[in-house]
Symmetry: C2
Subunit: 466 residues, 2 copies
């Protein structure tokens, strides 16, 4: 039983913590420079600490720094996921994590803007829009892909991207049940594309044109028609982007699916399995192993088919900047997608794109100090930097990764070896490490050195006074 002094202590503690919490909230109130507060949130999909280091080693050199390394705040963000039965799962996907960052709600893998009980979550973009702030979503993926979708749409499954697939059918050669309860046929809000087309988001830029060219169920009209009726300017080329009407919301669709990536491996090579000699098949300690040949990262010739991420980010910021403030999410999506494909040059190019877009945002924040700029990842990914040569190179038995290896010449004259070995399948698995977070430090913001993704959501909501 607690003593009287323990009770008094508890009472004083409660009063003090309550007082301090009210007087000094996590995010304080800075002096306003006349404009409203804004948040620019960068999500590097799969951009974990291995990928950040890969990007630094290649783009800035082992002793160099990325732009994000110069940001004054750094934190680690724990990813939280639950199974349908409510048990903790230790590895996430982009759908459930984007839902948590967008809404603060922990949910199931594959869910977009819905809680485990299928109720709709409320995203920070939706809250900001309702309070008169402008909002934007930019991605190098299809704008219907999980990360941007979770800020604007609400469906049971991330695959329900257009009015056809939402009703189910075949997908990747498998039977797909779709999200019939979300379909307009059944009184639902429709597919992700339809929900984007009827949303209040001011700027939506990325890929995914095919999903908007799909006809609505029982209609001759496409989702593009729906978006146009709603008032969106539809743009599909870099040129059109800069001639679009300035008083209308913009839906930019620059590729059928995801935007082309900036870099690729020599001759489009990705990671390959080390090759062992015939003798090695007799005993693990016999024979020899040959590692895949070294490759360079070279420009992807298709890259110029769409605007780059920095251009899209600059366009979005220019459109969104206004006295009331704005919320903008910018995703470099293919860090993850290229890691699934075991293509480290692909991922590195998308890290370069994130850096270039970040520089645009930081230049804006320098002129508009009430702008919180955050860079984080949604989940960790498969790639690992491994020793070149092996730490066991002097041992006279063949040593090699059981997975697939890429050896990349770096501009500073090193060779960076990257291992992909989470899966035998055509696509690597995500991994479960917490993810990094980098931020500028506008007045009144102090980031805790450790948080959960739902804390990140709350921090942005508090900063925008939503």
């Amino acid at each position: 039983m607690a003593t009287l002094s323990q009770w008094i202590n508890r009472l004083l503690l409660t009063l003090c913590v309550g007082y301090l919490t009210i007087t000094y909230p996590l995010v304080g109130h800075a002096e306003n420079d006349g404009s409203g507060r804004s948040v620019i949130l960068f999500i590097g999909d799969g951009f974990d600490d291995q990928h950040v280091t890969m990007g630094r080693n290649y783009l800035a050199g082992q002793a160099g720094m990325l732009s994000l390394d110069t940001l004054p705040e750094r934190s680690a963000v724990q990813v939280e996921t639950v199974s349908a039965g409510g048990q903790p799962l230790y590895v996430a996907d982009s759908a459930n994590t984007a839902t948590t960052i967008a809404s603060g709600v922990i949910t199931n893998i594959g869910r977009v803007g819905t809680a485990p009980d299928d109720t709709d979550t409320l995203s920070i973009a939706e809250r900001a829009s309702a309070q008169g702030l402008r909002t934007g979503l930019v991605s190098t993926a299809s704008v219907t892909d999980a990360t941007p979708a979770a800020f604007v749409a609400h469906v049971e499954k991330r695959g329900c991207e257009n009015p056809t697939i939402i009703l189910g059918g075949e997908r990747y050669g498998q039977t797909y049940s779709g999200c019939p309860q979300d379909a307009t046929d059944n009184g639902g809000p429709g597919s992700i594309a339809e929900q984007i087309a009827t949303s209040n988001i001011d700027v939506i830029l990325g890929g995914g044109r095919q999903h908007f060219e799909t006809k609505q169920s029982g209609s001759t009209k496409t989702v593009i028609d729906l978006a146009t009726a709603r008032g969106f300017s539809i743009v599909t080329s870099r040129k059109a982007l800069f001639t679009t009407e300035t008083n209308k919301p913009v839906l930019g669709l620059f590729a059928d699916e995801h935007l082309p990536v900036k870099l690729r491996g020599t001759d489009n090579r990705t990671a390959e399995p080390p090759e062992t000699s015939l003798l090695h098949s007799l005993h693990p300690y016999l024979g020899s192993v040959e590692q895949p040949a070294v490759m360079d990262c070279e420009p992807n010739p298709n890259f110029a088919q769409a605007p780059d991420l920095a251009t899209l980010t600059e366009f979005a910021i220019n459109r969104l900047s206004n006295p009331a403030g704005f919320f903008l999410m910018v995703e470099s999506a293919s860090i993850d997608k290229q890691s699934h494909k075991r293509n480290p040059c692909g991922s590195i190019g998308e890290i370069a794109q994130l850096e270039e877009a970040l520089n645009v945002a930081l230049q804006y924040a320098a002129r508009h100090p009430d702008t919180l700029v955050i860079v984080t990842a949604d989940h960790a990914q498969a790639a690992q930097i491994v020793p070149e040569p092996s730490l066991y190179n002097s041992i006279t038995v063949p040593v090699y990764s059981p997975g697939k290896i890429a050896r990349i010449n770096t501009p500073e004259g090193g060779v960076m070896r990257v291992n992909y070995a989470t899966n035998n399948f055509v696509s690597e698995e995500h991994t479960g490490a917490h993810v990094p977070l980098f931020a500028n430090a506008p007045a009144g913001v102090e980031l805790p050195p450790f948080m959960r993704q739902r804390d990140l959501h709350q921090l942005m909501v508090d900063y925008l006074n939503l």
Copy 2:
């Protein structure tokens, strides 16, 4: 001019902060006891962000926090390594990284306290000792292992741990050239054990007794005799530790090699390869796969044979605490060693040990505010948390890691799947991600959010005014 309500606010704030500081000194500023500044540096060997998250998920739960998560400062530390030819290498070992942390010098893999040109580096422990600060090294590895060795010894190769092996011979079934130029026979400073025995370190605790029981070259005397002649109290049991003379330096050797670890997998199981059906050998899309059975983490029955890390840390701090200040390095070594062996329960137990020892240090720092407490890793490691079940579980082909898998029941009712797949050999490879750093925030210390290991060295040197 402040309004009345502002004055009241300030008064309430002052009272609250005063109350909380007195009641909860851990989070506030205790009174300075007049002692000089001290540094307690924790190195979790291989303790990268995957391992930190593994530890958090198991020990605190997915939504929980480790003690190190509560520390107010967080940074990422880039690891730098060069080849013998001076080219950047993107993956390190514990010898070259400990040398960089200890001395600020970037060097080659395997080097202990020596630069690439084989000149001796000067460690922070040696500098501190020369300036009248007490110094200590504590490790769960042999005290001659690379990490503690780099703070006190100077040899070409980390394997030169005792007077026999330094002359070369056979090691792990391979011809070993040793470090003849460092041997006393050739006018060198001797093996790592001999250099420890003749050092000015005040407290050295860990394993490695066998290296000290080795006779010196051309002598009937062992390295223990050398250490005794130098004035060390030699202790080899927990009991002896607490009865040793208080006015003598202490060399504690509690195991022949490394100290026993705290946890292990059920029935000593480690990660195992998934098993595929016969049909699967015909085509990758045919047949089925069986993942290894789930295991628990259970106490290692041998753990009590040596003192635990928290006990050693507490002993060291008590011995070192003095008005001039001290430098103490504490290594939880087997996070890495168990990861090499694909034993996640082993690593998790050593993370628990690091946490317990950190709590001892933080309690000391609460009473002695001029104490900088840092937790970092030397390099990243192989373990990856992967999805349970696979993200591709609904695909009707067998999907599985090409490496080895452990599936661990967590106390909160989840199953954490850990993948080891950097190597086909008996030991996994290190990986190349930058490593995390956590620190308390004593007055006068502001940590940059990004640094290199040589910057970490400089930060500690500056803090101690060396």
